[in-house]
Point group: C2
Chain length 140, copies 2
């Protein structure tokens, strides 16, 4: 067992932060709870900031950005830029793809095995691939 689990079977927020080498400050703990409490999410900085306010979590917008970027750097989140207006942070860091609903700007996960790629070209100059993103843009 590499990380402690709660009786419910999930890793606590405190342990997640510690494991990532991030100090578990009051702000990071609160934001991490909002992010990882249940299920996977695609959330913008502004959205998370508003959720925090709604729950009387006193945290500045700058800290929300700092936390999102710190979490991303430590692979607790993945950043996604599809719409140029703002970026999303994805709590699902495993291999997967997305539906993008053009009207609402919402993202929905597609499990990795739902997409089967039979052929992909090699990057020029033998460069290393960091990730392959498949985005199905939907008129809705």
């Amino acid at each position: 067992m590499r990380q402690k689990k709660t009786s419910a079977g999930h890793v606590t927020v405190l342990e997640r932060l510690r494991a990532a080498g991030l100090r578990p400050t009051r702000q990071r703990m609160a934001l991490a709870k909002l992010l990882f409490a249940r299920g996977h999410r695609h959330v913008s900085a502004e959205q998370l900031f508003n959720e925090a306010k709604a729950q009387r979590v006193d945290v500045s917008l700058a800290t929300v950005y700092n936390a999102l970027h710190d979490f991303t750097a430590k692979d607790l989140l993945r950043e996604i830029s599809i719409d140029s207006s703002s970026s999303y942070f994805d709590t699902n860091i495993g291999n997967h793809h997305h539906f993008y609903f053009e009207r609402s700007g919402r993202l929905e996960d597609i499990a990795d095995d739902q997409v089967q790629i039979a052929a992909l070209p090699e990057p020029p100059g033998g460069a290393e691939v960091s990730r392959v993103d498949v985005i199905i843009r939907v008129k809705a």
Copy 2:
């Protein structure tokens, strides 16, 4: 034959604009020439504005944005947002995919037939797919 061709075999910029229902103004003509002169390109508004300046084409930045959006609305261009810092406009409007070089921010086309997708899920609620984008992110 649906459009006139030059002796070299390509459709003139004037005819492209007319066919799209866009007035061929001095500014649009100049920008269209820069965009479509040779080969496919991925260009930002700022880049195009600078090219125009370099060639002494007197055009405002607002007009560059207007033209890029008008061209996109009329399917002469496709807009791509991969990097949240700015969007690119692609002169290749046919089906194709992209390499994205993370260090430089550059995009490179992948021909449609180089990517073979064996399985793709249906959008929920039977919504219509407007496009499937495959982006191979490369560490280079």
